[in-house]
């Protein structure tokens, strides 16, 4: 299998290997060298204080005291050329279409299993498979209405898909707030560069949700369902509801009567047609899933099955964002669309396969090993930086249940200049664009760029010290 080149310096977004500024960064780099460092420092402090006051936070709410943490915001944007974006967007569109086709197939005819591309045990023994969805038709055949696809660049700057987030992907509010912040701090940059706008994302999201309302509903009522103010992503839930102009509800605001879902209002019950839920499947309906859930709505599943309400994303999409299924996505593109994948997977060894297992055990010090059900950077071994003891511990865990693991080469993620304590220095980044699927597929140009703020670190997760950057797509 191909391996991205791991010996050379990582691809840098701004500079070529021989130190020249790439064309997409030309205008920005010119501007940057004229900015005194203390001005940049002051702008960053201004951004911090604004984010605090506005309460754009990734919250730890245990103390009831409003103790929120900020996700660090970096003032150096990540810039993609029009051409790079065009290719990336085409690949994303294709990939999400295949993923939706896959989910529809799994919950209907299961052609892909009959064709032998996947073993039945890989689906039916997977906790993410929801038998309650079997045979159920959903509006437009769309399951993953909102997808966040994690993209990294490695080697000479080729794009790789690291992960498909198809359940309740978050982070889009940071994409929007980071842009707002950049325009506030550095308005002149937007006069100098033609940056594609992202502000219309909430409108597109609302249109997308309305387009998958139950058949026959003319003016659908859309709501955002949140687990509540103590959830770490609550800011985003409230933000999206506000930007779309719809109600933000908790489970207790909704109830099911005569097969329909209603919300409790000051003027009595009001019908709800589309629920953009930011709660995992497990908690949605205590009558069907976890009976101890107080976040959900008893009876919701029955209304859903009767086609009286649309839940976005659909229940059971987790089957396609599982790391054990990820290696097969390129095959899905070929199988369902009859096309060659435009976006590559990171070459992945599936440790349920004996020869992949043998290879992985022999190369633990070079590989990243991931637990297939892990998320957020947990349950993961980064071979090159792990201690011998950690590697040995992982070796035993892998041997005990090889089917629970996949292994990938340690990618030299691309770097982007970032304003840190020492000044502007390269830091590793990734990218999460958001793909909306409804009557049409829509992708707002850009996405959320996450940056590992510690020198050399490859971990961009906000739970582990990552920050964010504004992401620019230049108009061609």
């Amino acid at each position: 299998m191909d391996r991205p080149d791991q010996t050379a310096l990582p691809h840098d977004e701004m500079y070529t290997a021989d130190g020249k500024v790439r064309p997409s960064y030309g205008v920005y780099a010119d501007w940057l060298i004229h900015q005194p460092e203390d001005v940049l420092r002051q702008k960053r402090a201004e951004a911090d204080s604004l984010f605090h006051r506005v309460g754009i936070t990734f919250a730890v709410y245990g103390e009831q005291d409003g103790n929120e943490r900020l996700i660090p915001f970096d003032i150096v944007p990540r810039i993609l050329s029009a051409d790079e974006w065009r290719k990336l967007a085409a690949g994303l569109r294709q990939r999400v279409q295949a993923l939706n086709a896959f989910i529809a197939d799994i919950y209907h005819g299961q052609d892909i299993l009959r064709a032998g591309l996947l073993g039945p045990e890989q689906i039916f023994c997977n906790h993410q498979y929801r038998p309650e969805m079997q045979g159920l038709d959903v509006p437009g055949g769309i399951y993953a209405h909102i997808a966040g696809i994690d993209i990294v660049r490695a080697g000479q700057g080729e794009f790789y898909v690291l992960e498909d987030n198809l359940r309740v992907p978050s982070g889009v509010s940071y994409m929007l707030e980071d842009r707002k912040m950049m325009m506030r701090l550095f308005p002149e940059l937007f006069a100098l560069n033609r940056v594609a706008p992202v502000e219309h994302y909430p409108d597109r999201l609302l249109e997308n949700l309305a387009s998958v309302a139950p058949a026959g509903v003319a003016d659908p009522v859309v709501v955002v369902l949140t687990p509540g103010a103590h959830n770490s992503a609550y800011f985003e839930h409230a933000f999206l509801a506000q930007q779309m102009g719809v109600e933000l509800v908790e489970g207790q605001d909704l109830f099911v009567r005569s097969g329909f879902v209603y919300m409790r209002t000051t003027r009595g019950p009001q019908r709800v047609d589309v629920i953009y839920r930011r709660i995992d499947d497990d908690f949605l309906d205590p009558l069907v899933f976890r009976p101890d859930s107080v976040l959900g709505v008893p009876g919701l599943m029955s209304a859903y099955r009767a086609g009286r309400v649309t839940v976005a994303n659909a229940i059971g999409t987790g089957i396609a964002d599982d790391k054990s299924i990820y290696p097969y996505v390129p095959d899905m593109v070929r199988f369902y669309l009859g096309e060659e994948p435009l976006l590559a997977n990171v070459p992945t060894r599936i440790l349920r396969r004996p020869d992949d297992l043998a290879y992985a055990l022999a190369h633990l010090d070079e590989l990243v090993v991931k637990e297939v059900h892990g998320a957020g950077g947990y349950g993961m071994l980064v071979g090159p930086t792990a201690s011998t003891a950690e590697r040995e511990d992982f070796r035993l865990r892998i041997l005990a249940a090889p089917e629970k693991y996949i292994a990938q080469p340690t990618l030299a993620l691309s770097t982007c200049p970032t304003f840190v304590e020492q000044g502007v220095a390269p830091r590793h980044i990734d990218l999460r664009p958001f793909v909306l699927s409804g009557k049409e597929v829509t992708i707002v140009p850009g996405g959320l760029t996450r940056v590992a703020l510690r020198a050399g670190s490859l971990v961009v997760n906000s739970s582990q010290g990552g920050g964010t950057k504004d992401t620019w797509v230049l108009e061609g």
Binding site: G55, E250, T266
Partner: protein, 317 residues
Amino acid sequence: MLSSTADHVYWLGRYAERAENLARTLDVQYRLSLLPRSAAAEDTGWGRTLATLSLADSYAARFGDAFEAHRAIDFLAFDRDNPSSILSCLRSARENAHAVRGTISSEMWETFNATWLEARSNAPTRFTARNVAEFIEWVKYRAHLARGVVLGSMLRDEGYHFMQIGTFLERADGVTRLLRIRLACEATDNAGEPVTHDYLPWTVLLRALSAYEIFRRVSRDRVTPMHVIEFAAFRPDVPRSLLRSAELVFDNLQAVANAQSVETVRRAGVLHAMLRFGTLDTLGAAGAESFLQDVLARVADLSDRIGRDFLGHVALD
């Protein structure tokens, strides 16, 4: 509007107003403590204040029966364990705003959030019982700011009405209690004090209501207890009068009336009419206290009924 959303904006209005009313109440006691009065009168003043705010028991449980000024100030202004302290009210206002930050304007959310953050970070250092006057000024200033932001940025929909209902119900409650505290202190103040000082506490009260200059301008009366109560209760044009508060509760309730709220709206109308057509004759020195008690009871009844009719779970059918 979601009942739970209405509930949060209603309580946002109440807690914000309560913080301000408490600051004004504290202001009266604090300013009086600067006047030449007996120590006994001052201690009794704090006792009456806590009792009228229904806080005497929780204070006694913590500090015993002796009312010392700095302790009482700490307890009323800064005590995080006292859910009715100014600081706690600012936090509750912020928590309610947070729960509906998607419904209220972002400027409103930012204002209530910033007020709480600033209070929290300054309470142990800059804001203390020693310089409570500065804290009171700051709370009033933040309240003025919040009021302006609400007026200038909030959509005039149901949410606005519920916030107004919460605000003015709380104001009626707070002002009534403030008048009762003063009235209850009357006897003590006069014992052993020259009668010429009689008007002073009531002047202080008028100032705390931002109404001293108005009183002077619209009234030929001397500052006496009955005149001040009449003024604070029945003036239709004084922003913090009981009549003005009751009128706004009534107006906003009519705007959100639903099928089950007929009786509640009627009772709000009765309270309004009572204040609209009341006069000094209806009071009488002995009657003033029972009149104020009656107002408080009616406010409490409205509060219960509003919770049932709008903010709780609306019964089906």
